[in-house]
Structure formats: C-alpha cells, structure tokens
C-alpha cells in the first residue's frame, strides 16, 4: 500500500483528496502546514507528497527543499498543487525538484492519472 501525504491548509480541499485516495487504497496522511508535513514525512516516509505552496508558517517551497535534502526521502515523489499558475511559478517548482505541478483548481481525475504515471 502506497503512502500519500496531503499537505494543505484548506480542510475543504483536503477532504475531497483524502476521500479519493483512500478509495484508491492509499495510506493517507494529512498535514496543515509545512512544519507538520516534514515531521510526518520523517516518520512515515511517504511514497508521494501532495504539496500546496501558500501555507502558514512553513511554505511549500521550503518543505520541498527539506524533503529533497533528506536522504531517507529520496524516493518520495512530490506533486505541487498550487493556485500559482504562471509559467514562471511552474518552472520554478519543477526546477526545485517537484515531479509534477498541477494548478488549482485541478481535476481530481487528472491528478490521479498523473500520479499513476509517476510509477510507470
């Protein structure tokens, strides 16, 4: 069973994601900001992290950096889910080491397809 960590400060968005991935047989973990996410990631070593960028306290970029610097988490895939939709933002996200970048509002179906692609 794959482990997924959903990091977002908007509970309403998290709700839908959580429901979807539980149905797809993921082990779902939830964090409301970057700090919480890093803690959880360290203990559970997720296969995939869905990461929002604009969050209180520790933002998505910082979280990504920390994950990428952590040897234990070198297999973890990261998908940015952000309202920041400018080309420059997307490029920045991918350059920093995100595997995928989806802009909000995203389609859940597409998100699932993209995530499946990560392992094929």
């Amino acid at each position: 069973m794959k482990k997924i960590l959903i990091v977002d400060d908007e509970p309403n968005i998290v709700m839908s994601l959580e429901y979807t991935f539980k149905k797809k047989n993921f082990e779902v973990y939830i964090a409301r900001d970057g700090g919480e996410a890093l803690q959880i990631a360290n203990t559970i070593v997720p296969d995939i992290v869905l990461l929002d960028i604009m969050m209180p306290n520790v933002d998505g970029y910082e979280t990504l950096k920390q994950i990428r610097n952590n040897q234990n988490l070198n297999k973890t895939k990261i998908v940015f889910l952000s309202a920041k939709n400018k080309t420059a933002d997307i490029e920045k996200g991918l350059q920093m080491g995100a595997d995928k970048y989806l802009t909000k509002p995203f389609s859940i179906k597409k998100l699932v397809t993209e995530i499946n692609e990560l392992w094929n």
Binding site: N12, I13, M15, S16, Y19, P56, K104, P105
Partner: protein, 882 residues
C-alpha cells in the same frame, strides 16, 4: 599730515574690513568735489553775488538721479575693460586711440594744474591769516611753507597711490583718508557756521534784518534778468559735467567703486552732504559783509570772523577743515592725473620700446617710477603756477575756468555713451576746437592782462576786429566771460563732433568698441567674445609679452583662468580674438589701453575687418549667446522633465507591482473555494456508492465555499468602489453610542458562542455626522477581528467612544495575542499576506481592515493601531463630528 599717513596705513592693512569697504566711504569720498573752492570760495561768491554760489552744487544734485542709469553703465564698462582714468575711458570708446588718450590727458592737465595751484594758494593764504603774516612775501622757495606742504602731499600720493602697477586697482588707503577728511571739513564748516550764525548773531532772522540794510542787499539776493539767468544755467551745466568728467570725480566714482550697489547710497548721501555744506554759506557771507568793510578777501570770511572775535581755537579748526579739503582734492587729482600722464602720455609715446626689452620686475618698477615722477612734477608745476599766476585770481574764477576746459570732454563722453556713430576723428577735432576757443576767449585775455597790465585785447578784440572781441564773439556780449566761453566752445565742439561723425565713418575698431560701450549690458555676456578681431597670432608670443609686464606667476594664472573660462586647450597654438582682447585688458591696468594695444599689435598680425563684418560678427555672437542660453534652458527643462518622468515611471511600476500582487492575491483567494467546490463536485459525480452522510458533508462544503466565494467577490467590489470614490456616503447626524450598540448586537451570537465578553459603557450621547451603514461595517469588522483573536472562555473586548474637541474617537481593544511586530505596518493593506508571498495568515477575506480604512478615510477621519499597547490589540479611529 601724520594723521593722514596713519589712516591710509591702517586702511591698507585692513583692506578687507567692513570699515573700509562700505557704501558710506564711497559716498563720502565723492565729497572730494568740495575742495577749498567750496570751503572758502562759496562764501566769497555769496558775499558778492548772493545765492548764485549754489549753482555749482545744483548741477551735481540734478545729475545724481541719472547716476543709476549713466554712472552704472560707466562703471560697468570701466570694470569690464579695466579702465583706470577718464582718458582711458574716452580713448577706448573711440577705438583705443592713442592720440585721443593723450589729448584728453593734456586737456585734463591743462585744466587741473591751475586748479591744484589754486588749492595751494588757499592753504598759503589761510596759513598767512592764521599766523598773521600779512606782509609776508616769499622770497625763496625754501622758506615758503606752502612748498613743504606740496612736497609732503606729493610723497603721500606717491607712496599710497602707486602700490600696485595696475592702476585700475583700488587704493583703499587713500579713499578712506579722503572719506575721513570729508567728514572733517563738513563738521568744522558746520561748527563755524553755527558759531557765526547763532553766537556772533542772534540766529538767521536777526541776520536777515541787519543784512537787508546793506546797500547791495537787493543785488545779492535777487536774479538780475537775462544775464543772471544764463549765468545760472551755465554754471549748473558746467557743474553737471564736472561731476562726471573731473579726473578726481571719475577716479572716486568709477575707478574706486567697489560695488555697483554703493551708488544707491551715494545718490541720496552725496546731495545731503552738499546741502549741509551749503546751509550756512549765505549767513557767513552776510556776517562777513556786516563785519568787514570791503578791505578783506571775502573768500576768507569764515576764517576772519572767528579771528576778529578772538576765537583762535575755532579759527584753527576752520583752517584744519580747509586744509582737509585741499589735501583730499590735491591727493585725488594728482593721483588721477599721474595715472593719465603715465598711461596715456609717457608710456605710449616714449617708453614702450624699453618695456618690450626689460624684464618683468624692472618693468613694474619703471611704471611705478614714471607715475611717481608724474605726481611730483604735477604738484611742483602747480606750485610754480601758484607762485607766478594765482595771486591775481579768486578761487571761484580759476575753478570755473578749469570746469570750462574739462567740459570740452563732455560731447565725446556723453554722446559717445549712447550714440554708436561718434568717431575718433570727430572727437579729436571737436575737442581741439573747443579748447582753442576756451584759450582764446578765457585764458588768453587773462594771460595777456597779467603780462601787459592792460585790457586792450579784451576791449578791442584781435587786430581790433569788433566781432572777435574775446568776451563777446560775434557780438554776444550779455554773458559773463566764462559763460560766453562755455557757450561758444561747447557749441562748436559739439557741432563739429556731430557733423564729422555723421560725415565720416569710424574704422571697424572704433565701431567695435562703440558697440561694446553702448550696449554694455548686451555684451556683458559675450565678455571677451565681444571683441572682433581677425588675424594671426601665436599664444607663445602673447604669453611672453604678458610676462614682461605681469611676471611669470600672474601671467600663468591669468592664462589658466582664461583657458578654463572658455574651455580652451592649453596646447592651443593660435590666439583668437578673445585672447587678444583678454590680454589687452590685462595690460591696460598697468600701462593704459593705448599702450596695451600697441604692444599686442606688435606681436600679432592683424587683418583689417570691414565695418559690416564687425557688425555681422557681433550680431552673430549675440545671437549665438542667446541661442546657447535658450538651449541651456531647454536642456535644463528636459533634464527636469526626465527626472519627473523617471519618478513617475518608478511610481507607476510600483503601482503596477502592487496591482499585480493584488490581482495575484485575489486570484488565489478566489481559486481556493473554487478548487474545493470543483474537487467536491468531482468526487460526488464519480462516486455513486457514497453514503448519504458523507454526501451531505460534501454538499455542505460546496455550499459554504460558494458563500465564501460570494462574500469575497462582494468585498472586492466594495473595496474597489470605495477606492475609486464612486461610493456615495449617506451622511446624517447619528448617535455613535446607538451605532455601537447595533454593532455589538450583530456579533453577540458569535461572542456568546465563544464566551467572550464585550464591555461597553453606554454613557453620554455623542452625536456625529456619518454614514451609519458604513460605520456599522467598520465597527463590526473591528469587533469580529477582536473576537477572532480572543481566546475562548476568558477573552475580553472593550469598546469605547469619546468626544474630543472636533472629533469623536472610538477604541476597540481585546486581550488576545496581539499583532506580530513584523505585520503591524501592513495590516491595513489589502490581503496583507501578500507582503509575505507564500506564507498565509489566519483566515478571513484579508480585506476587512483595508475596507475599514477606506471608509474612515472617506469620512475624513483616521484609523490606526496603538503600537504601544501590548496586552492584545487596540484599534482606534477618529472622525470629525461635523
């Protein structure tokens, strides 16, 4: 005398002090006009012919208002060209003509030397009166005290007048001395006047009564028909010219002028001085007429009156006053004349070749020596003139003759200032004719009279021809000899000057200088560029020439300044017109303009320029200057505009950035609920087996996020409306406590739920004018914020309204966690999260405070946060009551 040396010494040492450099010294030095003639001679005239003595002072007084116009121009021109005497001035105006300078010099010497001798005569005679040597006849020079006084004066002038080789430099020592002497002579004269009028007699009316009994009283108080009228006019005109043209007046007024603005003081101080000097003249004259029976020299009444009454001290003071008058006149006159003699006569006609060969230090010494010799010669000549001639004449008549001769400079001087056609040839002719007429009608009769002892020449005319009678040329016999001479000489002088000027054109150089003088203010900007010159000259030649006169150091400094001023390279080999003119000016101060020109001409190869060319070039340079000026102004404007544009651009960029940020934030804020709605809807659509309970939860999420979206849109629009000023407030008189009650009521449900207490003391009624709905919005926002950040159970909120002088002040404070210091400056910004791009702040639309601020501001009020309050957050706002 020792005192004079002392003052001069002090003034030279303190030449920077404000005691030496002020308009009062300048105005007082002008009073060098009042020589022994004024001091003694006026009384003499007043006793014989009444108030006509005044005319000699009316001229200057009439001319003074003109000074602002004429004198300022003269001073400006003289400074531009480093002019050091009137001879320089006139010769430069007419194309730097060497002969003209010499002619003017000769005329001045001719006029002034007798005048100086007259001053010596006054000293000698008053000295006799004081020492009571009535029978004194000087047998040899060596036991004549006047001779020693003359020599001392010469030493004084030679020492302080020739300190610098450049004659256009100011001599502060001498000028200060002259000013001090002016004060002396006035005070002593006034003391004598008061003594005579109020102590010897019982005031002015007493004197008038007594004097009116004298036989000749009517004659001396009234006008005597046409003759007297003409004589009045003539003396006024004479003195009018004299105040400009007398070498000593030109020297004090122009060469020694430090600042143009001093003129403004002088034009009222100098007339005042003259007035004070003349107040008592008529009374002293009457007193003299009453006390003496015609057997004494009326000129010396002022001295004789105290003596007769045994007031020796006063007599001595009067003598000292007269002595001061003489000294200052002699000193300044010889100084001015010696400069002219050396720069316009001796150097250009004799010593130039020697200078060209000599080395700089020797040259400067030669120049000074020539000037010193001139000073001594002038005074010695004056002394011998006095010994041989002056016994015969009164102070007044020699003074007048001297004025008439000097007046011959007037046509070329005044007309030349304003009319560009005047030419050198015309000036030479006019002046020569004028002087010849004066000689024939005034001097010859006098000399012949002295030599032959009879008046046959005057009575019969030349060769016995009636029409050539020297006092009545062509039968004009109703004028006094001086007026007659003045009339004819001026008439012929002026008309020949005008006619020849009109008939012949001056050469291009004359025309060039004429333009520079007449339009001095125009060409001031052109500076050295106003001089038109064509030809070939090497900088090295000119430099070598300058070095001979100025020395190595001064030359290099001057040329460096020149190069800097006109931005000319040091390596430039060929000299241009500006350098030629600049060098001429540099030399002019030392050796006079004529010699300067000859010297410069000797090292350059000049090509003749046609008159038309001169005018064209001048016109062009004038235009270029004007264009340059306009260009400069434009460029300045452009720079200014560019600066403003840059600032505006930065401002725009900043606003653009803020707008972008705002839009970004708005987009983000809108996307969040949309994302949630979309995701929930997708989940609901795809999953048909979802339990009802969960389904409801998703549906509720959709509803609440749709609400959030709507609220957000509403707030954004609201803020936009307030910002653009499209929102119209409905301002009415309201009671703030009632509005606060309503606001509290609005949030009470949430407060109760969170168990947070809201304290409000509803006390006095406070009325104010505001839009109640908007005010409610602000209060609600502040209260909701306070509630949001208060801890449940023990949170406390306090709201308060106070009436101030012109405003009401509302405070909302809570005991929550307060506002972090780093945010405090941004909390009124819309979506202030934007400042910290990716860090989100606690929930809310992010627009509440921004909207509140807009509302308060549109009420012309202020909203702020109390930064010192540290037990939570405290917001305050004020609005005007009406």
């Amino acid at each position: 005398m020792a005192f004079l040396f002392l003052i001069a010494y002090w003034a030279e040492k303190n030449s920077k002090s404000k005691w030496v450099n002020n308009p009062y010294i300048y105005a007082l030095s002008l009073a060098v006009y009042c020589s022994a003639w004024t001091y003694y001679g006026s009384v003499g005239i007043a006793s014989q012919s009444g108030i006509s003595f005044l005319t000699i002072y009316l001229g200057p007084v009439i001319s003074l208002p003109l000074w602002i116009l004429v004198m300022r121009k003269i001073i400006r021109v003289s400074k531009q060209h480093k002019i050091s005497s009137i001879a320089d001035f006139i010769s430069l105006r007419y194309g730097n003509n060497r002969f003209l300078g010499a002619l003017v010099t000769v005329i001045c010497v001719f006029a002034i030397v007798p005048y100086i001798s007259l001053q010596l005569k006054a000293i000698s005679e008053t000295f006799e009166i004081i020492t009571d040597e009535t029978s004194y006849v000087s047998t040899t020079i060596l036991d004549d005290s006047t001779f020693y006084i003359a020599v001392l004066l010469a030493i004084f002038v030679a020492f302080y007048g020739t300190q610098a080789a450049d004659a256009s430099q100011r001599r502060k020592g001498i000028m200060t001395t002259v000013a001090v002497e002016s004060v002396f002579k006035l005070i002593f004269f006034l003391i004598a006047g008061i003594y005579v009028t109020f102590f010897l007699f019982d005031g002015t009316s007493d004197m008038y009564q007594k004097a009116s009994q004298l036989d000749n009283f009517n004659q001396i108080t009234a006008f005597n028909g046409v003759t007297s009228g003409f004589n009045w006019m003539f003396t006024i005109a004479l003195s009018f010219f004299a105040i400009f043209l007398l070498p000593r007046q030109f020297h004090v007024a122009v060469v020694e002028n430090d600042r143009e603005r001093y003129l403004k003081k002088a034009i009222w101080m100098f007339p005042l001085y003259l007035f004070l000097f003349n107040v008592f003249v008529i009374f002293i004259a009457w007193a003299g007429n009453l006390s003496f029976e015609g057997n004494v020299n009326q000129d010396y009444y002022i001295l004789l009156l105290p003596l007769q009454n045994n007031n020796i001290v006063l007599a001595l003071l009067v003598f000292l006053g007269g002595f001061s008058a003489v000294i200052s006149m002699v000193v300044v006159s010889t100084l001015a004349l010696s400069t002219m003699v050396s720069n316009n006569l001796v150097i250009p006609y004799g010593f130039l070749d020697m200078f060209v060969k000599g080395d700089p230090e020797k040259n400067a010494n030669y120049i000074k020596t020539i000037r010193r010799i001139s000073i001594f010669s002038l005074i010695i000549i004056a002394y011998f003139f006095y010994v041989n001639f002056s016994y015969e004449l009164s102070l007044y008549s020699i003074g007048l003759i001297s004025f008439v001769i000097i007046a011959q400079l007037a046509p070329s001087f005044f007309i030349g200032l304003f009319w560009n056609r005047g030419s050198a040839r015309a000036v030479k002719t006019g002046m020569s004719i004028g002087v010849l007429i004066v000689v024939y009608t005034l001097i010859l009769p006098f000399v012949l009279n002295v030599l032959q002892g009879n008046n046959s020449f005057v009575e019969q005319g030349l060769f016995g021809v009636e029409l050539l009678k020297p006092y009545a040329l062509l039968g004009i016999d109703f004028l006094s000899p001086e007026a007659h001479s003045f009339f004819w000489s001026m008439f012929l002088n002026t008309s020949s000057f005008l006619i020849i000027s009109l008939l012949s054109k001056g050469n291009y150089r004359e025309r060039n200088y004429a333009e520079m003088f007449i339009n001095s203010s125009n060409y001031a900007n052109l500076q050295d560029g106003a001089f038109v010159w064509k030809g070939e000259a090497y900088v090295t030649d000119i430099r070598a020439m300058l070095k001979r006169f100025l020395g190595e150091y001064k030359t290099e400094r001057a040329l460096n300044l020149f190069n800097m001023k006109y931005d000319i390279s040091k390596e430039e080999e060929m000299a241009d017109a500006r350098l030629i003119n600049f060098s001429e000016k540099l030399l002019t101060g030392s050796i006079g303009s004529a010699s300067a020109r000859i010297l410069i001409d000797s090292v350059v190869k000049e090509e003749p320029v046609s008159l038309i060319e001169v005018l064209n070039i001048l016109e062009e340079s004038k235009k270029t200057i004007a264009i340059n000026k306009a260009l400069k102004e434009q460029s300045n404007e452009l720079t200014e505009t560019t600066k403003q544009l840059k600032a505006a651009n930065i401002e725009l960029l900043e606003q653009d950035r803020i707008k972008d940020e705002f839009l970004d934030t708005v987009a983000h804020e809108l996307k969040t609920p949309i994302t949630s709605i979309k995701a929930a809807s997708e989940v609901l659509t795809d999953d048909h087996e979802m339990p009802d309970e969960l389904k409801t939860k998703f549906l509720n999420t959709i509803v609440s996020d749709a609400d959030r979206l709507a609220r957000l849109i509403h707030n954004i629009l609201d803020l936009e409306k307030l910002s653009s000023g499209r929102d119209e407030l409905e301002i009415q008189t309201n009671q703030i406590d009632k509005t606060i009650d309503k606001a509290i009521h609005g949030v009470s449900q949430i407060a109760n739920k969170k168990n947070v207490a809201i304290h409000y003391q509803n006390g006095t009624r406070i009325y104010a004018n505001y839009d109640e709905d908007r005010m409610l919005q602000v209060l609600t926002n502040l209260l909701s914020n306070a509630l949001k950040f208060s801890e449940p159970e023990n949170g406390e909120i306090m709201i308060q309204a106070r009436q101030k002088q012109k405003t009401i002040e509302v405070t909302v404070q809570d005991n929550g966690k307060g506002i972090p210091a780093e945010d405090i400056n941004y909390i009124f910004d819309k979506f202030y999260q934007a400042k910290h791009q990716n860090i989100k702040k606690p929930k809310g639309s992010g627009l509440g405070l921004a909207i509140s601020k807009k509302i308060i501001e549109s009420h012309r009020g202020k909203i702020w946060i109390d930064k010192k309050y540290n037990r939570g957050a405290r917001f305050l706002f004020t609005i005007p009551r009406s």
